[in-house]
Amino acid sequence: MITYDNVTKIYQGGDVRAVEDVSVKIEEGEFVFLIGPSGAGKTTLLRFLIREDRPTSGDIWYKEENVVKIPAHKIPQLRRRIGMVFQDFKLLQQQTVEENVSFALEVTGKNSKEIKEVVPYLLEKVGLSDRMGAYPRELSTGEQQRVAIARALVHEPEVLLADEPTGNLDYDNAKQIVELLRQINDWGTTVIMATHDEGLIKKAKKARVLKLEDGRLEEK
């Protein structure tokens, strides 16, 4: 489903090698932990997949498409097939929980009927059906991450990328988020979660673990 083929990223005129010669295949329906210390290149690898960035060399295949080479006008379609959540949630503070999730559907031109059906359904799935009218500042960090996850799921993506989703959470909340991602994976979505917290891996059964250190990838 996803193939990184000899991917290298070099920054600052060749001084910094963020990712070096990474080759890996990820199959449909897998739950993959991408672990490694901060600055190891985890975020960079994920950003390549939604074309937030491009490698210096190598190819990245998503199904039949080479993500590195797809034209700019096709990127929005790609991002509807690959959802992503972040450590800092990226929620709009002046919008309610419901509006934050609706926003993702509105800006992609979905009709009102669909929005009215999808948003409450997803918020129920992430356990926030009673907080639809709340603003992000009124939520705990764990709840904010759940909103971000619900938003990432609105287009029913085939892949969900989670970049340090537990980075700002306490242990209990982190555990719950991993559990939620696990559940999403059980529904059939491929999940790739980047984290520097190796303790979380033990909480997820049957997960594949890839370790990234100094830009190099190894299977664990």
């Binding site: 929005p76 509807r80 993702a104 509105e106």
Partner: protein, 296 residues
């Protein structure tokens, strides 16, 4: 809350842009209004000067007075010859009798001036208009040497002066307008860039969830159109109310020239003109600003 359809949503974001930065929006409208007003003033000044010039060009510009010995037949023959020239737009023959009539009508209130005036003492004349004031001195020179001609009178200085003024207004207007347009566009570019920065979080989320670039750009274009509509309307309304004062001013200088026969129609045309040109320029600036931001 009832959810909006595609266009409604774009318009909703447009209103959000404007309401979140209301001071900036007012600043843009103010700057655009001044520029549009300057453009409209320039157009009105151009129209007025052209109208005044045309009025004088259409007046008899060369009056040739004939000696008493010149017979009407001879004068009419000269008239006939003149009319064959392409650069002559009109030639009128004023006989001695008609000259007296004109004199009497001009001095109807002054009987003492009329008492001794008879056709014998006033000369017959030809009143000549040319298509282009450039031919004026040639026509006058031609008659200066004619044996039947007593005197040639023509408004060379006035028309030349008007032509110079018209040119000067045009050049100064274009120069002033270019500076105003440049300043306005720079201000708008800065404000739009600032506006984009204020919405960077929304734009970032829009991009991440798969909104296409046009969905992100359109609200900024609508901002520009709304600013242009307001500025063009304010400028045109000001211009509409200023027209009578401009007319009063020109009436004192050129009483016979009617500048604005249909001020409302003119204001409407000016509105369309500044709105069309202004919105294209402002939208272009928005496009470049958003494009540069999205490219990052």
């Amino acid at each position: 809350m009832e959810k909006l359809s595609g266009f409604g949503r774009v318009f909703k974001y447009t209103l959000q842009h404007i309401s979140r930065n209301i001071v900036q929006a007012l600043l843009i409208v103010a700057v655009l209004t001044i520029t549009f007003l300057a453009a409209e003033l320039f157009v009105v000044a151009g129209l007025a000067s052209t109208k005044i010039l045309t009025y004088f060009e259409n007046q008899p510009q060369v009056t040739v007075f004939f000696k008493d010995e010149a017979q009407p037949d001879q004068i009419l023959q000269i008239k006939k010859e003149l009319e064959k020239n392409g650069y002559i737009s009109n030639v009128s023959y004023v006989s001695k009798e008609q000259a007296v009539e004109i004199y009497r009508s001009l001095h109807a209130d002054e009987p003492e001036l009329l008492e001794f005036v008879t056709p014998d003492i006033l000369p017959a004349s030809l009143e000549i208009s040319v298509n282009d004031v450039g031919f004026l001195s040639g026509v006058a020179d031609e008659f200066e040497s004619n044996q039947f001609v007593e005197k040639v009178v023509y408004q060379r200085d006035l028309v030349n002066e008007l032509t110079r003024w018209t040119d000067a207004i045009r050049k100064m207007g274009i120069g002033f307008l270019a500076v105003m347009a440049f300043v306005s566009l720079v201000v708008i570019a800065l404000v739009v860039s600032n506006n984009i920065r204020d919405f960077s979080k929304e734009i970032e989320v829009m991009k991440l969830v798969g909104a296409n670039d046009w969905y992100i750009r359109l609200p900024f274009f609508f901002d520009s159109l709304i600013y242009s509509v307001f500025a063009a309307t304010i400028a045109s309304v000001i211009m509409y109310f200023a027209m009578p004062y401009i007319q009063d001013f020109t009436d004192q200088l050129f009483p016979s020239v009617q500048l604005f026969s249909t001020p409302l129609t003119l204001s409407y045309s000016l509105w369309w003109g500044v709105f069309a040109v202004g919105s294209v320029l402002v939208t272009l600036i928005s496009y470049v600003s958003v494009w540069r931001y999205l490219k990052k």
